[in-house]
Amino acid sequence: MRSPYSLYLVMAAALAFSLLSCGKKEETTEKAPAVTPAAAPVDLATVGSVSGTVKLDGPAPKPKKINMAAEPSCAAIHASSPAFDEEVVEGEGGTLANVVVYVKEGAGNRAFEPPKTPVTLDQKGCTYIPHVVALQASQPLDVINSDKTTHNIHPVPKNNREWNKSQPPGAPNIEEVFGREEVAIPVKCNVHPWMKSYIAVFKHPYFQVTKTNGSFELKNLPAGTYTIEAWHEKYGTTSQTVTLAAKESKTVSFVFKAASGD
């Protein structure tokens, strides 16, 4: 009788071939952004601002209730007021929350010292608070666990270093930095798969995340022409060009179109 090793050789060859065909995840190593001397220092006496609102055109999708039965300590917190997904949070009159509005182009090659004050991302009731955070590159991010359960914090960046850290209840805050600009980094908790958040990282301070009223204000902008972009996790990006004279304030509005089928 022949030994059946040929069968295994065929399968091993198939495995090797297919693995070679699979896409390789690109490794990114985080480096601090190259600091170049300010092209022209910002003169606070002449700066202006861009403000406005972000709205949704069309009906927002009905928020979906999160079932936290898998985590009794969090289910108890939401016993009287259930938690809903925060993918689309609409205010009165169609205003849209959790939109990152920022200067995409026009800030030039000015170098901005990152603030020392950390931005916080809290895990409370098995949700991330806030749902979307924005910070400057190299500004500290403090991750807090206010829950009585263990979480893991797992950002999945494309342009920064990926990390995955556990945080049991009562553990010290986790302090991390992101060195490169990226809009926006999804954050997951694999222990509680409904927990999702986004972190937007900028090399300048001209950004803001909208609240439920959809309003934003980008302050201290020197005179110049800017591309202002609005990013939303479901609806993507939309942008406008604004030209500011010295001390001028302008108002712009962004409107995202609700996806069909929502």
Binding site: S6, L15, K25
Partner: protein, 308 residues
């Protein structure tokens, strides 16, 4: 042929195969619940052997515990074969199984350390299928049936049924790799659908040839039924799993219907491969290629000739 008929060894191999199937269920539950990185460290879990069993940690740590148990069973099986099995190639296959389970553990650890890179995740999922088929093969080789004197059948058609069986196994294994790549977001659905078409064609061809050339063989009739039943069930599960993935996409968390359908599709996929391996091995065991047929016939409807 030097043989051993040790029912204890055969039963132990079967038990190991059963536990491996359970391990496949546990592994598929990890992927479907997106819990692969719920435990950020390896080989320990949160620095201990008894992490808090909450949320996704339950799936990941249970998977690690069952995997450790299967690893232990495989060590016992390999040692038992080495000490008691007279056929050198079966002893060597026991070592292959041991090597595979060790490699599988290391691949699992690498997926944690490197945040589920697609090639390593796909390799982990695919090697799991190979390991299961290897243990099933060991159970077959140590069975009383395999080691008894069996009537030999002449296969005078072209292509040989042995060849068709091998092609089916290779196609199913490639299809499982494509499925794993789909689950781990390496490929889209199209390659997996194309693979399903190829596998269906080859399995139907193999079964049809078996029916045409060996209509009176009860063993081969059971092989045909096994292939048809597993493939049919798997195709239905595949459609249902895809529907559930699309339907559950808008929900903020993995929905139970999606989880269980995708787990079932993954595990039945392993059974399809193991079934095809068993059928191919049975064909190698009881079919003899008729020499003259290789020269004369290219017909599939060659006459039945029995020999011992």
């Amino acid at each position: 042929m030097t043989t051993s008929k040790k029912p204890g060894l055969h039963r132990f191999a079967l038990f190991t195969a059963g536990c491996t199937l359970l391990l496949l269920v546990a592994g598929a539950l990890v992927t479907s619940n997106d819990a692969g990185l719920s435990v950020p460290d390896w080989p320990l879990s949160y620095g201990s052997l008894t992490p808090p069993m909450v949320g996704g940690i339950r799936y990941e740590h249970s998977h690690r515990l069952i995997a450790s148990f299967v690893g232990l069973l495989t060590i016992v099986l390999a040692v038992w074969l080495w000490l008691r099995e007279p056929r050198p190639w079966v002893r060597r296959l026991g070592l292959v199984a041991l090597g595979a389970v060790i490699a599988q553990g290391v691949l699992g650890g690498l997926t944690v350390w490197f945040f589920l890179p697609v090639p390593i995740s796909v390799a982990h999922a695919s090697l799991a299928q190979l390991f299961f088929s290897t243990v099933i093969s060991l159970a077959l080789f140590t069975s009383r049936w395999w080691q008894s004197d069996l009537p030999q059948l002449d296969d005078s058609g072209a292509p040989r049924v042995r060849q068709l069986g091998l092609w089916s196994v290779a196609a199913i294994f490639l299809q499982l790799i494509l499925g794993a790549a789909l689950r781990h977001k390496g490929f889209g659905i199209v390659p997996h659908l194309a693979g399903a078409a190829v596998v269906t064609f080859l399995v139907f061809w193999t079964a049809a040839v078996l029916r045409r050339r060996f209509p009176e063989s009860a063993v081969l009739a059971r092989c045909r039924v096994l292939l048809h039943a597993l493939l049919g069930f798997q195709l239905l599960l595949g459609g249902a799993a895809w529907w559930s993935r699309v339907a559950a996409r808008e929900f903020p968390q993995p929905m139970p219907v999606m989880v269980w359908l995708t787990v079932a599709h993954t595990v039945v996929g392993a059974l399809v491969l193991a079934g095809a391996v068993v059928v191919a091995l049975v064909c190698f065991r009881i079919l003899n290629p008729a020499r003259e047929a290789a020269l004369a016939s290219h017909s599939e409807a060659a006459p039945l000739r029995l020999s011992r």
